[in-house]
């Protein structure tokens, strides 16, 4: 085995703050590092982010690598890859954690191929194997029908971790650590790809991924008009409407509303599944939600195996009754 040691966490920054996944990865990294009796370190890439290093230290990082340059303000594959490669080669970690986010999904495989190791994507659980001291990484396969547990034989063991799968780190401002500033040293002439346009799309209301309440419909809703009734419930609960794949394919709702392995992963406090059977592909996208409610006329539907509360009834009768009752309570 190589001489690599310790856990390195890539802390994503958005809008000048740590993204929630950064704090979750620091929590997971801290736990793994202490089980191994090794050190936790963090890498921060961005522009004007120096102030965040202390927060990473408060979360347990003993070393924080900071690459702070205006050109790194937004994520782009090539410069971030160059910087990450540089940091990994300096830090030589045994474990490298990234988020299963747009940038983590892009970056983790590149790092694996560049560093001659392997990346495990969409990890939902991370444990240290007591016998071998290697990282056991659990992830969904076959559209969520099964879970695979795998071990990477080479270092660094790279894991891209699903958001909200790990408990966020506690913070202790008395903890000490060292900040290591690193020059990006990117020769812009060597970059092949160029981001020619960046559009901030003002999300209308809350984003599906961030919603506290999600009201999702399946094939059984039957029409775009049917989804209007779900919108009404979502409106009352300040939530967002989601869907399984068939309603998106049928254009009743935009593709951006799709929840599941082939769409978005959500983890709200309340997930209301209406007229959907609960195919693994879809369930895999929301099953970590706190409270799951199912409304379906088929008592044998798989969704009732996943839900906490269920109403066995045709949604066309149950949903208006639920809406009316909600109006009395929250309206």
């Amino acid at each position: 085995m190589s001489e690599n040691t310790g856990v390195l966490v890539h802390c994503e920054v958005t809008g000048g703050k740590f993204a929630p996944i950064a704090i979750e990865l620091l929590g997971a990294g801290s736990r793994l590092a202490s089980e191994l009796g090794q050190e936790l370190s963090a890498v921060l890439i961005g522009s004007d982010i120096g102030g965040l290093a202390q927060e990473a230290i408060a979360c347990g990082a003993k070393k924080v690598y900071v690459i702070d340059e205006p050109s790194l303000k937004d994520y782009a594959t090539e410069p971030y890859l160059m910087v990450m490669e540089k940091v990994v080669q300096q830090a030589l970690p045994s474990i490298l954690l990234l988020g299963q986010t747009p940038s983590g999904r892009d970056l983790a495989p590149w790092l694996a191929f560049r560093l001659n190791t392997g990346a495990t994507m969409d990890c939902m659980a991370l444990e240290i194997d007591p016998a071998t001291r290697r990282l056991l990484m659990t992830r969904p396969v076959y559209g969520g029908n099964a879970q695979a547990v795998q071990v990477c034989k080479t270092d660094p063991q790279i894991a891209a971790v699903r958001t909200k799968a790990m408990a966020p780190s506690a913070k202790d401002d008395t903890l000490q650590g060292r900040v290591i500033n690193i020059e990006a040293g990117i020769d812009s002439a060597s970059l092949k790809t160029e981001v020619v346009e960046r559009k901030i799309e003002a999300a209308v209301g809350v984003r599906l991924e961030d919603a506290r309440v999600v009201v999702a419909g399946g094939r059984g809703i039957g029409s775009a008009e049917g989804f209007q009734q779900l919108e009404e419930v979502a409106g009352l609960l300040k939530g967002v409407v989601g869907a399984t794949r068939p309603p998106c394919d049928a254009r009743w709702v935009p593709d951006s509303r799709q929840i599941g392995i082939t769409g978005k992963i959500v983890s709200p406090d309340l997930y209301i599944a209406v007229a959907l059977s609960g195919a693994s592909q879809h369930v895999s996208g929301f099953f970590s939600s706190k409270v799951i409610v199912a409304i379906n006329k088929d008592p044998e539907a798989n969704i009732f195996k996943v839900a906490h509360y269920g109403i066995v009834a045709d949604w066309k009768a149950a949903l208006p009754a639920f809406t009316a009752r909600l109006k009395q309570v929250v309206g």
Binding site: D74, T77, P102, R105, D106, P109, G118, A119, M121, D122, L136, P140, V141, Y142, G143, N145, A146, Q147, A148, V149, Q150, V151, T154, K192, T193, E194, V195, V196, E197, R198, I200, E201, V213, L237, D249, D255, I261, T262, L270, A279, Q281, V291, V293, P299, N302, K305, V306, A307, H308, Y309, G310, I311, A313, A318, A321, F322, R325, L326, V329, V330
Partner: protein, 263 residues
Amino acid sequence: MKNIIVCMKQVLDPEIPLSLFHIDTEARQAIPPKATPPVLSPFDENALEAALKIKDTQESNVTVISLGKKLNRVVVSSALAAGADHLVLLQDEAFSDFNTYLTAGALAAAIKKLGPYDLILCGLQAADTNTGQVGTGIASMLGIPCITAARKVELDDDKVRVEKVSADGSEVIEAPAPAVVTTNYEVGVLREPGVEAFMSAAKKPITTWNAQELGIETAGTDCFNMVQMYEPVQEGKCEILEGASPEEKAEKLVTRLTEVKVI
């Protein structure tokens, strides 16, 4: 004439009912159900659609490459019926669904062997392994850029132009051709071939290569050990709210949700 390559994987139908899905816990992989044929991975169908959209507007030759231990001719040939011009099958007992490095290496070797290319398209991730690394692996091995999770792909004179969703909006990325692009579901559903398309597909060329013909090493290429594979146990602790009418059931549900403080 543009040369576009699309990598498509044959997978277990991800939509099969749970009752037909079983894991071989010893071999740590799914047991293919006898009654349900495999399908082309849905994201790879999106990739083929992206290629055909380019072919709609400029003269292009679309080559589909599929890799596996054993490929179902009927399934993979559907890519020809949908509009691809040439099918290349990479078949070898040494191939494995879960060995990303070997898969990317074999595809990269086949692409080199096929000659000049302008664009390589892959699905965002396979529907079985759910990993999403093969496109990047091919790019890394061929020394070309890779742009992931595209919702729109254009091929200009010597430039690949990609629109993709970013953390807070969208971005347009350009790279010199050739490049690898992986596609999201937003590029569109694969078109349905007509009856004539199936007839003409039968006349299109199919090439078959094994690992030796590709000149690649297969042993010792997997840096992973699959330790375990299992079907998650579902809790089945659902409280069914009973009542004489929908109103009564709904009232009970709202009460429960208030009690657990989610509304």
